[in-house]
C-alpha cells in the first residue's frame, strides 16, 4: 500500500496511523492503533476507533484524513446495506471493497484517505482488500497501511505465514502494531483488533500497559 508519505499534509484531524489486516485459518483479523493527530505534535484523540463496521461480517479500517474517511465509510455503509437488501443476501466483501473503490477513484482529487476492507462471506470465506489513495483495489493475504506501516514491512514480511491459527494471528497483529506504535509518533494509544469469522465478530482491545515490550523498553 502506498503509505510512506506521512499524512501530515492532511488538513485538520488526520489518522496518522497504523492499520493492518491478516487472514488466518477460518477468518480475518483487522487491527489498528487508536491515535488521531493534528499535524505531527498534537494528539486530538487517544482513543479513536478506526475499525468501522460496514456490515455484519465486513469491517473497514481507515488511514488519512479522518473527515474524508468518515464521509466515505458512511456513504459506503448506506450503499452496501441497500445492495444487500436488494440482493436479499449478505454482501460479498468484494462488493464492499468495490463500493469504497468507486468512491475513492471518482473523487480522487478531493479525497485523502486509504482503506483496508476485510471480512468473511459465504462465497470466498475470509478476504482482505486494499483500496489505496488513488482508488486502486487489490486483494492480499495480509496488508499494512498508514504512516506507521513503513516501520513494520520487514517484520510482517518475515513473520507472516499462510494459514496461521487464531492465536498466532492475534500475536502477529498485536506485535506488528506495537512495533509500529513504538516508532511512529503519530500512531499510539491502544491496539484495537476485530476478529471476523463465519460464526462471530469479536472486538479485542489491548491497552497500552498490556502491549508486548521489546528489548529497549
Amino acid at each position: 500500500m502506498d503509505s510512506h508519505h506521512s499524512y501530515s499534509q492532511v488538513k485538520g484531524v488526520s489518522t496518522g496511523t497504523t492499520i493492518l489486516a491478516v487472514k488466518f485459518n477460518g477468518g480475518v483479523i483487522i487491527g489498528s492503533d487508536s491515535r488521531a493527530s493534528m499535524g505531527e505534535s498534537y494528539v486530538s484523540s487517544k482513543t479513536i476507533n478506526k475499525l468501522i463496521q460496514v456490515h455484519d461480517r465486513i469491517f473497514c479500517c481507515i488511514a488519512g484524513s479522518l473527515a474524508d474517511a468518515q464521509a466515505v465509510t458512511k456513504m459506503a455503509k448506506f450503499q452496501l446495506s441497500f445492495h444487500s437488501i436488494q440482493m436479499e443476501s449478505p454482501p460479498l466483501v468484494k462488493a464492499a471493497a468495490s463500493i469504497m473503490r468507486e468512491l475513492c477513484y471518482n473523487n480522487k482529487e478531493e479525497l485523502q484517505a486509504g482503506f483496508i476492507t476485510a471480512g468473511w462471506d459465504r462465497k470466498k470465506g475470509p478476504q482482505i482488500y486494499v483500496v489505496s489513495l488513488g482508488g486502486m483495489l487489490l486483494s492480499q493475504p495480509y496488508t499494512i497501511g498508514g504512516s506507521g506501516s513503513t516501520y513494520i514491512y520487514g517484520y510482517v514480511d518475515a513473520k507472516f505465514k499462510p494459514d496461521m491459527s487464531l492465536e498466532e494471528a492475534t500475536q502477529f497483529s498485536t506485535n506488528a502494531l506495537a512495533l509500529a506504535m513504538g516508532r511512529d509518533n503519530v500512531s499510539g494509544g491502544v491496539v484495537h483488533l476485530v476478529v471476523i469469522t463465519e460464526a462471530e465478530v469479536k472486538h479485542v482491545v489491548v491497552p497500552g500497559n498490556k502491549l508486548p515490550k521489546f528489548h529497549d523498553e
Partner: protein
C-alpha cells in the same frame, strides 16, 4: 534516523538519506556491520556491487548512506585525521574518537551535506561499539543501529528480533536477514549483502550473493 523537534525539511525531501540499507550490531568482543550494494543515479543503478563498508582505521569502519560524493569525501577526511591522531598518540584510536570526527564534520557542514553514517569498530578500551551520526550531525551510541532509506522498513523487525548478548554468528544472521528484508521493500537498496566482523582479531569480510540471501515465506 533520529530527529528531535520539527524536521528541517525545507530542502531535504526525505528525513532518511536515500539509496541504501546499512546496519551495525555490537556483540561481546566486536561488531558486525552490513550494507546492501546498490548506488543509484535516479532510476539507473550506477553500481550494483558497491562497497559501502569503508575502513577508517585498522579496526574502525563506517557504513555510508546518503550522497555517495559527500560520504566519500567525509570518510577520506576522517581517515586522514584519525591516522594522524593515532600516530601522535602512538596507539590505536578509539571508536568514539572516529565517531566524534565524523560528527564534527557532519554538524559543521550540515547545510551542505547529505550524509548518514554509522561508525562501528573495536578498541581495547571499550570493546565493540556502534555510533550513529545521522543527517544533521547528531552522534549517539547504540547497541544496534540501522540507516539509509531501507532502514524505515526494518525498524519493527530489528526492535522485535534484537536481544542483548547475541553471539557473533547470531549477529551475522540477524544482520543478513534484516538487510534482506529492507532490500526487498526499498527500491533504492538491493544487490548483494556485504558483511564484516570487526574484533580484536581483526576484520573478516563476507559477501552474500542474491541467490544465497535468506528467504522468507512471502518474498
Amino acid at each position: 534516523s533520529l530527529q528531535f523537534g520539527t524536521p528541517r525539511s525545507v530542502f531535504i525531501t526525505s528525513l532518511i538519506p536515500v539509496g541504501t540499507s546499512i546496519m551495525a550490531v555490537e556483540f561481546e568482543g566486536g561488531v558486525v556491520i552490513g550494507a546492501d550494494s546498490r548506488t543509484t543515479t535516479g532510476a539507473y543503478i550506477a553500481n550494483r556491487v558497491t562497497d559501502k563498508l569503508t575502513p577508517i582505521h585498522e579496526r574502525i569502519f563506517c557504513c555510508r548512506s546518503g550522497s555517495a560524493a559527500d560520504t566519500q569525501a567525509i570518510a577520506d577526511a576522517v581517515t586522514y585525521q584519525l591516522g594522524f591522531h593515532s600516530i601522535e598518540l602512538d596507539e590505536a584510536p578509539l571508536v568514539q574518537t572516529a565517531a566524534s570526527l565524523f560528527r564534527e564534520m557532519c554538524y559543521r557542514y550540515r547545510e551542505e551535506l547529505m550524509a548518514g553514517i554509522i561508525v562501528a569498530g573495536w578498541d581495547p578500551r571499550r570493546g565493540g561499539q556502534v555510533y550513529t551520526v545521522p543527517v544533521g550531525g547528531m552522534m549517539t551510541r547504540q547497541p544496534v543501529s540501522v540507516g539509509g532509506s531501507g532502514s524505515s522498513y526494518i525498524y519493527g523487525y530489528v526492535d522485535s528480533n534484537y536481544r542483548a548478548g547475541m553471539s557473533k554468528e547470531e549477529c551475522l544472521k540477524f544482520t543478513a536477514e534484516a538487510l534482506t528484508l529492507a532490500m526487498e521493500r526499498d527500491g533504492s537498496s538491493g544487490g548483494v549483502v556485504r558483511l564484516a566482523v570487526v574484533s580484536e582479531q581483526g576484520v573478516e569480510r563476507q559477501v552474500i550473493l542474491g541467490n544465497q540471501l535468506p528467504k522468507f515465506s512471502t518474498v
